[in-house]
């Protein structure tokens, strides 16, 4: 079943097409990887899908419903949530408050405070943050801050989670743990699109990969197909 369908999505910044005529579909339950050189338009594509930016052309359908042009908070309440490349948490609030906000406001319908607190606790336990429950989120290390962001996103009870470079800046052990976490999220029934530069992670956990370059989709396929594709090697992976 298709959960997300993107058609001819285009965004210009001045005269430059940051994303140009991108088509893609995401199947429910899969992990889709999005790779490409710096400036390829990966984050812009996320911004267009999540409602941060309004596309110049094309449309985004989520569960068959058009969501392009909607405000980010509406998109989130419909079940599509994203994280940010440069970790955006609420540094002076506690980890619990960070996640609670997601549970309180991200749910499709108004949720009681007590229920939201339960949802938040669940997300905190799921991401392994219980030990930092009451600490200000800004006092945590980078890897844990990224987990706070993921926990906050999970607390909104999404169906589709978009992770923007969750593993950038993490050491090998942390990358391993992050991969584990992404798989567990998928196993809990949430579809995932992830932008990533850590090839080991992408090749290991993604069922399918899309390669962007200069705002255009240049390749799509399984990790094996992508890692052997001549175009992709030339443009991105290198010899």
């Amino acid at each position: 079943m298709q959960i997300l369908h993107v058609e001819g999505l285009t965004k210009y910044f001045g005269g430059l097409a940051a994303v140009s005529g991108v088509d893609l579909t995401v199947e429910k339950g899969e992990i889709l990887g999005l790779i490409g050189p710096n400036g390829a338009g990966k984050t812009t594509l996320f911004n267009l899908i999540s409602g941060t930016l309004v596309p110049n052309a094309g449309k985004v359908l989520f569960k068959g419903e058009k969501i392009s042009g909607l405000k980010p908070y509406v998109v989130c309440r419909k079940g599509l949530v994203r994280t940010f490349q440069s970790c955006k948490i609420f540094p002076e609030m506690s980890v619990f408050q960070n996640v609670l906000l997601g549970a309180l406001f991200g749910a499709p319908e108004k949720i009681a405070w007590k229920k939201a607190a339960e949802v938040a606790e669940e997300a905190i336990a799921f991401t392994g943050l219980s030990a930092f429950h009451d600490l200000p989120a800004g006092s945590l290390t980078l890897v844990n801050q990224k987990r706070v962001e993921v926990a906050r996103a999970l607390a909104t009870k999404p169906e589709l989670l978009m992770l923007d470079e969750m593993m950038a800046g993490l050491n090998p052990t942390e990358v391993g743990e992050a991969m584990e976490l992404v798989k567990r999220i998928r196993d809990s029934g949430i579809t995932i699109i992830m932008i990533e530069h850590v090839m080991k992670a992408i090749m290991n956990i993604c069922g399918r990969i899309i390669v962007l370059d200069h705002g255009k989709k240049i390749a799509e396929g399984t990790p094996e197909e992508i890692s052997t594709s001549k175009t992709v090697i030339e443009i991105y992976l290198g010899e």
Binding site: V81, K88, F90, L101, L104, S139, R152, T156
Partner: protein, 328 residues
């Protein structure tokens, strides 16, 4: 540590109730001058608390306080003789509420300094439009206002202050208070986890302005004459902002203490050193911003912490956002 926190939790409400009771009793045992001084303090306390309810939490520095205050003043100027006093006060609040709703809807998409400049210019714009309207259309500049006695004005302001503090308390402990802080902390993240940031900002702006408008409506009855230059005086925009910074942001007590000390200090300096008042006052403000970045309340909290907890905990650093690469 825990014990001192628990004591502090009870001390604040008890002190506030005692102060309110004392304030209510003040007119019966002091001279009229002190009532007028306290009246001015209350008026600025309302302006400062309202300002910090919106600007202090969201980080959007509004300089339109004078516009909302002026809207209240002008409501009384027009309706003063036609309606009973409590109704006029509420009308003043509604006028400011509607004005803030309009201004918020137009300007709250702007960020940072642009928002501040727009709100500042809006005060001047309204002032000039009213001035033009009075001169060219109705041909009479300004209005005379029927005076209400100082003690009544004082009590109305006290009631508004208490209502405002109650409102702030209820908002802060609700989900909307948490969402407001999240906007101040990182607006983009807030928007992406389901917070209707624009709606919440506009509504909070309007609610806080409602109280500013009410204060304006009742203060008008303490004046004899109002015109656009009296009503839309930019000092009403600057003072609450300065008072909030002086007292300390992020705490309901900060703006209150700031407004009280600031007004009192200004009064003393004006009467005792009329020629050097601005010089001394400016120095005090500069020193405050340099050495007390979290205001008088921040200073008091630091002293309290040192008294109750002489050995500071080492190890965990709790300064927000400095540990890792966060962009908000």
């Amino acid at each position: 540590m825990k014990k001192s926190k628990r004591i502090a939790k009870y001390i604040v409400p008890v002190v506030i109730v005692l102060v309110v009771v004392l304030m209510a009793a003040v007119p019966s045992f002091t001279d009229p001058y002190k009532v007028v001084l306290l009246r001015t303090i209350l008026m600025f306390a309302i302006l400062t608390l309202s300002w910090s309810l919106f600007s202090g939490t969201t980080g959007y520095t509004s300089l339109a306080t004078a516009a909302f205050y002026g809207a209240g003043l002008y409501t009384t100027a027009y309706l003063g003789d036609k309606l009973p006093l409590p109704l006029i006060v509420v009308c003043g609040g509604i006028a400011a509420f509607v004005l803030a709703l309009l201004m918020g809807a137009i300007t709250l998409r702007l960020k940072g300094i642009y928002f501040s400049i727009f709100t500042l210019s809006s005060v001047e714009l309204i002032k000039q439009i009213l001035h033009w309207y009075e001169i060219n259309i109705i041909g009479v500049r300004g209005h005379y206002v029927t005076r209400v006695n100082d003690v009544t004005v004082y009590y109305v302001l006290l009631v508004i202050t208490v209502l405002l503090m109650l409102t702030i308390y209820l908002i802060k402990r609700s989900r909307y208070g948490l969402a407001l802080s999240s906007i101040g902390s990182c607006e983009e993240a807030a928007a992406h986890i389901g917070v209707n940031v624009v709606g919440l900002k506009v509504l909070t702006y309007a609610i806080s302005s409602f109280f500013i408008g009410m204060a304006g409506a009742i203060m008008a009855t303490a004046m004899l004459y109002i015109d656009s230059y009296v009503a839309f005086d930019l000092n009403y925009s600057f003072f609450p902002t300065l008072m909030a910074i002086f007292g300390g942001l992020g705490n309901i007590l900060g703006p209150l203490v700031g407004a009280a000390v600031f007004t009192y200090l200004r009064e003393i300096l004006i009467t005792k050193y009329p020629y050097h008042y601005m010089l001394i006052f400016g120095t005090v403000m500069v020193l405050t911003i340099l050495y007390l970045p979290s205001g008088l309340i921040g200073l008091a909290q630091n002293i309290w912490k040192k008294l109750t907890n002489p050995a500071p905990e080492k190890g965990l650093k709790t300064e927000g956002g400095k540990h890792a690469d966060t962009s908000c």
